[in-house]
């Protein structure tokens, strides 16, 4: 118990030595995610149920604690926010109904707005490739999407190409995308959104 208290003190000290505790980060995260992060009492149900927590550098419960402490740089630069796949197990089990999946999405957006490079670069690239694919044809098309992803991530051959080839051999990957009729509409929606 005593050790735990000591650790807390150290954290607060380091924070105050840098400057004042940045509570604005907590407010910002609260506003953007719409989740009441102050309610978290660290029961760890979220981390216990999280399928990707073993691979995260900061566990979900710690993410909330660190937001409360105002550790913006550490949180937005973590790999945890990119490992979350939003399976919503945490949110379903949280006794205070904090949806961490929602929070993680908000944090990803904040990280992108701040220009903080994603620690899991490839996951971000995959999101981008997906959006581009929808932008082109109205529907997601795996071959062109994965091609773009492979070229951008420079992950040639290794992990991403092989499953694609296997799926193609199973007849599951049509090479040409199916373009829909209302593509003008889609283009317009994209243009409107980027203008804003």
């Amino acid at each position: 118990m005593r050790i735990a208290i000591k650790r807390e003190e150290i954290k607060l000290e380091t924070l105050t030595s840098v400057g004042k505790v940045a509570s604005s980060f907590l407010e910002e995260a609260k506003k953007k995610s719409g989740e009441n992060l102050g309610l978290c009492y660290q029961c760890l149900k979220c981390t216990a149920g999280c399928p990707t927590a073993p691979y995260m550098d900061i566990r979900p419960n710690n993410i909330i604690r660190m937001i409360q402490m105002g550790m913006k740089k550490e949180v937005l630069g973590s790999s945890a926010i990119w490992f979350c796949v939003y399976c919503q197990t945490c949110g379903t089990r949280c006794p205070n109904e904090i949806h961490i999946g929602v929070l993680m999405d908000a944090l990803r957006e904040m990280a992108m707005e701040e220009g903080i490079p994603a620690k899991e670069k490839n996951i971000h690239l995959f999101h981008e490739a997906f959006i581009q694919s929808v932008r082109r044809g109205g529907r997601a098309h795996e071959v062109t999407m994965l091609m773009e992803y492979i070229l951008k991530s420079k992950d040639l051959m290794k992990d991403s190409l092989l499953p694609g080839v296997k799926l193609f051999l199973k007849g599951k990957f049509p090479l040409l995308p199916s373009f829909i009729k209302g593509r003008g509409e889609i283009k317009k929606i994209f243009e409107k959104c980027t203008k804003k």
Partner: protein
């Protein structure tokens, strides 16, 4: 009265169609999960309804936007909903991810007037959120009924130990999806039992498969899939049954990777639930797209005498 013609077993059958359901397939059902799409369409004809494909549908966006100010990601599902409303009042999907995104967007449009106006302004339509979104399994349960389905089964899947895998998207977030119980759902088990199979209970049935991490960090997804499959096998499953193309990719196609990592792992076939429905309804197994399953299910099926 409308009829459809379909090859059942060795003969062609004329089937009376009672109902139409507006159907949103989603991108993967045209590519990666063609067998899912095709079997669902054929089975629906046998059950007396037709899946009428929505015109000019687009990608649903594949994730429901979570940050409160993200309107852009709400637009594709909203556009789908608005065009669907012009054609009917009920929309059905097969893919669990599409179902999740579309149902949640519909709820949001229903409940949030401010966002609804914003969205309508963007997509230049006037949609008020008055569509009913149903998953194919829900149609089977509510509109057909599992006891009636049991009567229509021609070849009961007796002796098949199948593990129903729900994944995340059908169930969560619990309050918005309202599909089944959040920790102990039973709808899928009831479905399998109506087909005559034995549903295996295993603790990982609602766990996440690792989702899109299979592209960015494949090891993570492989581990997730290993846990799920291992838990099912340990509880006696001979096959997995899935409702989602994404889950199926992770638990079916990843089995070769799992085998390289975990030498004691024995691959088991993964079915879409419509494939099992197809066998039970007496469809020719060659029309059920088993050649597209990564782990070949035919040895198991012939061992059980279902072919």
């Amino acid at each position: 009265m409308r009829y459809a013609c379909l090859r059942v077993g060795r003969r062609y059958a004329f089937l009376e169609l009672v109902m139409d359901y507006l159907y949103f397939p989603g991108c993967t059902l045209y590519t990666k999960a063609k067998n899912f799409d095709q079997t669902a369409r054929n089975c629906s004809l046998l059950l007396g309804f037709e899946l009428k494909e929505l015109k000019n549908w687009t990608c649903c966006g594949a994730t429901f936007p979570l940050a409160t100010d993200n309107i852009m990601a709400l637009l594709p599902p909203s556009r789908i909903l608005a065009t669907a409303r012009e054609e009917g009042t009920v929309l059905t999907t097969l893919c669990a991810v599409c179902f999740n995104v579309i149902k949640r967007t519909n709820r949001l449009i229903q409940g949030d007037g401010e966002k609804r106006d914003k969205i309508n302004n963007f997509i230049e339509k006037n949609y008020q959120g008055d569509l009913q979104i149903l998953h194919y399994l829900e149609i089977l349960k509510q509109d057909i009924g599992f006891p009636q389905l049991r009567e229509k089964v021609k070849k009961p899947l007796e002796g098949l130990l199948a593990a129903p895998y729900y994944g995340c998207m059908l169930l969560r977030p619990f309050k918005e999806m309202g599909f089944d119980d959040k920790e102990k759902p039973t709808l899928f088990e009831e479905f399998l039992e109506a087909l005559g199979a034995k549903a295996i209970e295993f603790p990982y049935k609602i766990e996440c498969c690792g989702s899109f991490q299979s592209v960015g960090s494949p090891d993570v997804a492989t581990e997730c899939a290993y846990k799920i499959l291992g838990s099912a096998i340990q509880n006696g499953a001979e096959a997995m049954v899935s409702t989602c193309p994404m889950c199926t990719f992770n638990i079916d196609h990843k089995q070769s990777d799992i085998k390289q990592k975990h030498l004691d792992f024995k691959p088991i076939p993964v079915f879409y639930f419509t494939q099992l429905l197809g066998i039970a309804m007496g469809l020719d197994y060659r029309t059920l797209g088993f050649e597209q399953n990564a782990v070949d299910p035919l040895p198991l099926l012939s061992e059980k005498g279902f072919l």
